[in-house]
Symmetry: C2
Subunit: 222 residues, 2 copies
């Protein structure tokens, strides 16, 4: 019988530098062999413990006689020195729930009023570099209501956001065009587009066919 | 006739602190009203100009009589102080193409040999905080070859990675279970799962129905 593999363990962290919003840190941890290693990491100084920092909204717009669309935002992102195409998103206010935050941010940034359909667990945005965590919230918008036909944005000071309404069945093509025009596409938006495209080609499940695959291969799961 | 809106413009950047891998910076830019603003940003010190820093691999495993699966990796991520579930990924070597990098990283991290099916344009990972850019590369794996049945990993020093093979049609449920067990799920992986799930419910296009929606609403596109 072999003993289970050792786990990596957090040891300590040192703050190297601190800005108003983010700080640069060194994380000391031990690898499974027991060796101490160092990793550089960025932290948000505004982080509230045990909750997501922000929500990312996946907004699906449904209208009579029109193809289902996804709503995206275009804005200048100083770290990229460029305009980006992203899902609507925003930091969660203190005491706010992810679903309330998603509906609020979507309304502020795009003018659309939607209904929360699904909330993800806390997910990580760029785990090799930072500890930013987000809830992905799926929001459905009835585009035929008076409020949504006349949708008006309500932006914070310093926010300059344009709204894009893209039919889901053309998303990948449109993202490629926007990228070619010089914009940066967010990797979550592009992943969403690839998955939608792939789903068109997944072989339908044959109910008569025995399912050989276990739910998750336990070969590697410890 | 109204004049077109002014654009945000990059002015200059100051390095606040520099580690071996990442640096903390202040970006000065002007907003569309001409007002100068400051934004904090993290940069990779290893960045090569005009190319993606890394690839993120979307690996689909196809096998005879088994459901299509996605291959994910579990590893300790010091910035998260936790184990994460992510797509296989890695930094692009100097002079390497994204497709070669994707096939190499997939082989090293998971042992599977795949074929590149699609390469995204350069996308951004966390554009509100940093300038990390990645190519998303879709790779298809024939799981019935001898090499892939016996897949063996070839990890770098300091890499300790476990491989997960998850049927696409159960991905969302399995990610929720993994999250409940205490792991952090990468937001791209979760977005992929949501999109796959949503695609099941998209109404089929009726070819007799006139397409009213323009390819992109130009109402907001400037």
């Amino acid at each position: 019988m072999t003993s289970p593999p050792k786990q990596c363990q957090f040891i300590k962290q040192e703050e190297v530098a601190r800005g108003n919003w983010i700080s640069l840190n060194k994380i000391h941890y031990s690898d499974p062999t027991g060796k101490e290693r160092v990793w550089e990491a960025v932290y948000r100084t505004t982080k509230q413990s045990n909750s997501a920092d922000a929500v990312v909204v996946l907004p699906v717009l449904r209208r009579n006689l029109k193809f289902d669309c996804v709503i995206l935002v275009k804005q200048y992102r100083p770290p990229m020195k460029n305009y980006t195409i992203e899902f609507p998103a925003g930091l969660i206010d203190k005491g706010e729930t992810p679903d309330k935050c998603a509906v609020r941010e979507l309304k502020e940034e795009t003018g659309f009023m939607g209904i929360c359909k699904h909330i993800s667990p806390i997910t990580c945005l760029d785990p090799g570099v930072g500890n930013t965590s987000v809830s992905m919230v799926t929001v459905e918008i009835d585009g035929d209501t008076k409020e949504n036909i006349e949708h008006k944005t309500n932006l914070d000071d310093g926010e300059f956001i344009e709204v894009l309404i893209v039919p889901l069945n053309q998303l990948l093509v449109k993202l490629n065009e926007l990228s070619e025009s010089g914009l940066s596409i967010d990797s979550r938006v592009y992943t969403y587009a690839i998955a939608q495209e792939q789903a068109k080609h997944i072989k339908p499940v044959n109910p008569d066919q025995e399912q050989i695959e276990p739910s998750i291969s336990t070969e590697y799961l410890k």
